[in-house]
């Protein structure tokens, strides 16, 4: 980079040392570009004059700026002409729900999916929820029967749904509710209101009240007010609600605090007479009520529970195949490979879909309409599942690799996992000597250790620096041997 800079400098000095004629033309051209109308006729100007002109050119933007400012001011004098909302009143309007939030729309329309691979990719996206979920018919029926029964019986109740992430809990519940909404519109079921809160979307558990009120009424109030309105609505007979409410609480474990008042209230309202609140709670842990919740909350939660099992490889295969219906851009064997790999690790449908999308992207780089084969899937799997640590060690600098080796041999020597930098350094010196590597200073070695600590190959104690820094190896020694041996 130094040479490059020098070149630049050289070039500049060259242009400066040129005779005045060239400079004159240079300036002239520059001026012409800036104000082409005024000085169009004068082609040859003496250097002195040109200097003046450049001065003027310097001045004009300032003038323009002042002018622009004036124009700007004129354009922005709404105080007299039209009443524009002040921020405070805007906030008020937002709180009352008069103004709805909007996102800026695109300037251009979206392109339609042209190639089959692109269409397959858009259908494989996690956010694309199919109209009926494959392999969850039994759970769908259970939830549907529960909700339908409660709506027909005109009484409240609770249900607890659990399962590992990516097994279709929320998708199933929302599709059941969509079905109920269409049935209610047709008049087969009583009408109801639907409220949906997610524990992770709340800054604080008590904001749940605010969210519920916002979805029921449309106004934003403080949580104290929200709680009192809700309590009056659910407990007092005079202010009884007209429609039954279905309340979906996602991520229940986040809503639990030490006092557990929010979750108690949410589960206590359905037990009140003359209200009809149906609560569906979703969480990951199977035994959350027994483990985390208080006795009295567990008693109110009841025993209506449903567990979503992890998907098997057959089910995952069916899910992906359903999504790809209509396109033949995927080799069935490739889909099966993805399903088997994912089902053996977690049974998470999102992961399977992501891997398929990645494989489609890899295939797309080879051409618009190639079929996704096993090799593409293998590449995607290698990128998404296999170990990045070995590759990270392989790409370390030679000094860093020696440091890792030194830590390992120090651990083997002492038999204790935790090592001290001074001992590691002593080991490093001998390893360097054996390999014919130039001896490095202590500070350089320390910098290598901190680099390895930053990418978490080593765990480094931040408190004590220098020679008594404590170091723990964060990768398994086998990984290091494996990575260094193959070189």
């Amino acid at each position: 980079s130094l040479t490059c800079r020098r070149k630049c400098y050289y070039y500049e000095s060259c242009s400066e040392s040129e005779d005045s004629d060239a400079q004159e033309i240079f300036i002239n051209v520059k001026r012409k570009v800036k104000t082409p109308v005024k000085y169009n006729d004068e082609t040859y100007i003496s250097p002195f004059k040109s200097l003046r002109i450049t001065d003027e050119a310097h001045v004009t933007p300032v003038k323009n700026k002042a002018l622009a400012k004036d124009i700007f001011c004129e354009a922005k004098t709404p105080k007299n002409s039209a009443k524009k909302a002040t921020p405070r009143s805007t906030i008020k309007l937002i709180r009352e729900g008069v103004i709805t939030p909007k996102v800026q729309s695109r300037s251009r329309t979206l392109e339609l999916e042209s190639t089959p691979l692109k269409r397959a990719r858009s259908q494989l996206h996690v956010s694309y929820v199919p109209t009926n979920l494959p392999c969850r018919e039994k759970e769908y029926k259970d939830i549907f029967n529960f909700l339908e029964g409660k709506l027909l019986d005109k009484c409240g109740g609770c249900m607890y749904i659990s399962g590992v992430p990516g097994t279709g809990k929320t998708a199933t519940v929302t599709s059941v509710i969509n079905q109920l909404v269409t049935l209610a519109k047709a008049g087969d079921l009583p009408e109801f209101q639907y409220v949906n809160i997610n524990g992770m979307k709340l800054t604080e558990p008590r904001q749940a009240y605010v969210e519920i009120v916002k979805q029921l009424v449309g106004k934003t109030v403080t949580w104290e007010q929200a709680q009192t309105t809700l309590e009056e609505k659910f407990t007092k007979k005079s202010k009884q609600m007209k429609l039954p409410i279905i309340l979906l609480v996602d991520e229940l474990d986040i809503v639990c605090t030490k006092r557990q008042d929010v979750v108690y209230n949410i589960l206590d309202w359905p037990t009140k007479p003359n209200t009809q609140l149906i609560v569906i709670t979703i969480a990951n842990t199977m035994d959350l009520p027994e483990r985390l919740l208080m006795n009295r909350v567990t008693s109110r939660l009841g025993l209506t529970r449903l567990t979503f099992q992890a998907y098997t490889h057959k089910q995952l295969q069916e899910i992906v195949a359903k999504r790809l219906a209509g396109t033949n851009s995927f080799n069935p064997d490739a889909v099966q490979l993805v399903a088997r790999k994912v089902a053996s690790v977690s049974g998470d449908a999102r992961r399977a879909l992501d891997i398929c999308r990645r494989a489609a992207e890899i295939a797309e780089t080879e051409g618009g309409d190639t079929q996704v084969t096993m090799s593409h899937v293998n590449e995607a799997l290698r990128a998404m599942i296999t170990q990045p640590k070995v590759r990270a060690i392989k790409h370390c600098s030679r000094l860093e690799q020696y440091v890792l080796q030194a830590v390992i041999s120090e651990v083997e020597r002492t038999g204790i996992e935790e090592t001290i930098f001074s001992d590691v350094y002593r080991m490093l010196v001998s390893i360097c000597a054996i390999n014919g590597f130039n001896l490095v200073s202590c500070t350089v070695a320390l910098r290598a250790v901190s680099r390895l600590g930053a990418c978490r190959l080593l765990l480094v104690d931040q408190k004590c620096h220098d020679l008594d820094e404590r170091i723990i190896l964060n990768v398994s020694p086998d990984d290091v041997y494996y990575a260094l041996k193959e070189e």
Binding site: Y264, Q309, I385
Partner: protein, 353 residues
């Protein structure tokens, strides 16, 4: 579906087994009489008193208090305040809530001013106040000042307060309010709601089902089985009702499923068969009880291989470490080492950390 009358029977049964506050309490007659006697005695004498009700969840504490509050004789003579302590912001804000419910105006908005306003109201001549504090253990504060303040109100001269506290803990007043023991007039009278026995649960079920006119939906043996199991585990009536409802749902679902099949075959035959009511049998109760109280998961043979293979290996290697190693302190790295060795022996690809 609305055409068939029997469906309403199941619906009635489900409705009868609701777990909201009931209007009659079959198994709690003794406690109800005792409560009524306590309150009416104090009303007649014009004195104040304190009562602490304890018992595990689902034994009908709040429900019996609600019944008492709705009693016409009592509500005529007493002004009532019912506060559920979980629904207030913090333990200190209970006073503003009480002041609001009593209709007392205070000079300011601070906690102290509300206390003084309520205490002034208590010193003036007034109707007897029945103050019910549900889930009173939520009012715990630093040095228990809130609870002490409230429990000392009945001892204010000329006051006529009947204070009823409800909580789960048996010895809450002894444990967190030891100073009340020193003064005899402050000491709360204790009342315990024992878990329901099998007989009481059967009584509740029969009375509810009889009121709805669907008593023959449950066979007596099934009812005995259900009540015995719940009484043995917890004695929580909410659980018992929940299980009862689910059993009814199960039978209803199975029957309607059959009905659809029959409809295809012959409508007349179906109507014939619908007339006899299928009662809940021991079999269904046992299956629901097993699914609720059995081991965490009843694996069907089909679902059995749903558990991902790698997770199975991880659990097995953890078991291996816990069985063999002396040091039970297992880190992820140590577990991963064993897991990797197991995987390589079984010729399975190793997952990363």
């Amino acid at each position: 579906r609305k055409l068939f009358g029997e469906n309403d029977l199941y619906q009635n049964a489900r409705r009868a087994l609701h777990s909201t506050c009931p209007t009659t309490m079959p198994g709690r007659q003794k406690e109800l009489d005792e409560l009524k006697g306590f309150i009416l005695g104090h009303v007649d004498k014009g004195t104040s008193g304190t009562l602490y009700i304890s018992g595990p969840p689902g034994t009908g504490k709040t429900a019996s208090l609600n019944l008492i509050l709705e009693d016409s004789k009592i509500s005529a003579e007493i002004s009532q305040v019912y506060v559920n302590c979980t629904s207030i912001k913090s333990s200190g804000s209970i006073f503003s809530r009480i002041a609001k419910d009593l209709g007392v105006k205070s000079g300011g908005n601070s906690e102290k001013e509300y206390i003084s306003a309520v205490e002034k109201h208590l010193q003036r001549p007034h109707k007897t106040i029945l103050l019910v504090l549900d889930e009173i253990d939520q009012l715990e504060s630093k040095r228990q000042s809130v609870l002490y303040t409230i429990f000392e109100w009945p001892a204010i001269p000329n006051s006529r307060v009947i204070l009823v506290g409800i909580a789960n803990a048996l010895d809450l007043t002894d444990r967190i309010l030891p100073r009340l023991q020193a003064r005899c007039e402050l000491k709360p009278q204790l009342m315990h709601f024992a878990p329901y026995t099998k007989q009481q649960l059967v009584e509740i079920f029969t009375s509810r089902l009889r009121d709805a006119g669907v008593l023959d939906i449950f066979s007596p043996v099934a009812l005995q089985m259900l009540a015995g199991k719940v009484a043995a585990v917890s004695g929580d009536v909410r659980r018992a009702l929940d299980i009862g409802r689910r059993v009814v749902e199960l039978v209803d679902k199975r029957r309607t499923g059959d009905g659809v099949l029959k409809a295809v075959e012959n409508l007349a035959e179906e109507l014939e068969s619908e007339k006899k009511i299928e009662s809940v049998d021991l079999k269904e109760v046992v299956s629901v009880l097993n699914s609720v109280y059995g081991t965490t998961q009843s694996f069907d043979d089909e679902v059995d291989d749903a558990f991902p293979l790698q997770q199975k290996i991880v659990v097995c290697s953890l078991l291996l470490i816990l069985n063999k190693a002396k040091n039970k302190d297992v880190t992820v790295g140590r577990l991963h080492d064993v897991y990797r060795r197991v995987c390589s022996k079984r010729n399975i690809q190793v997952g990363d950390h």
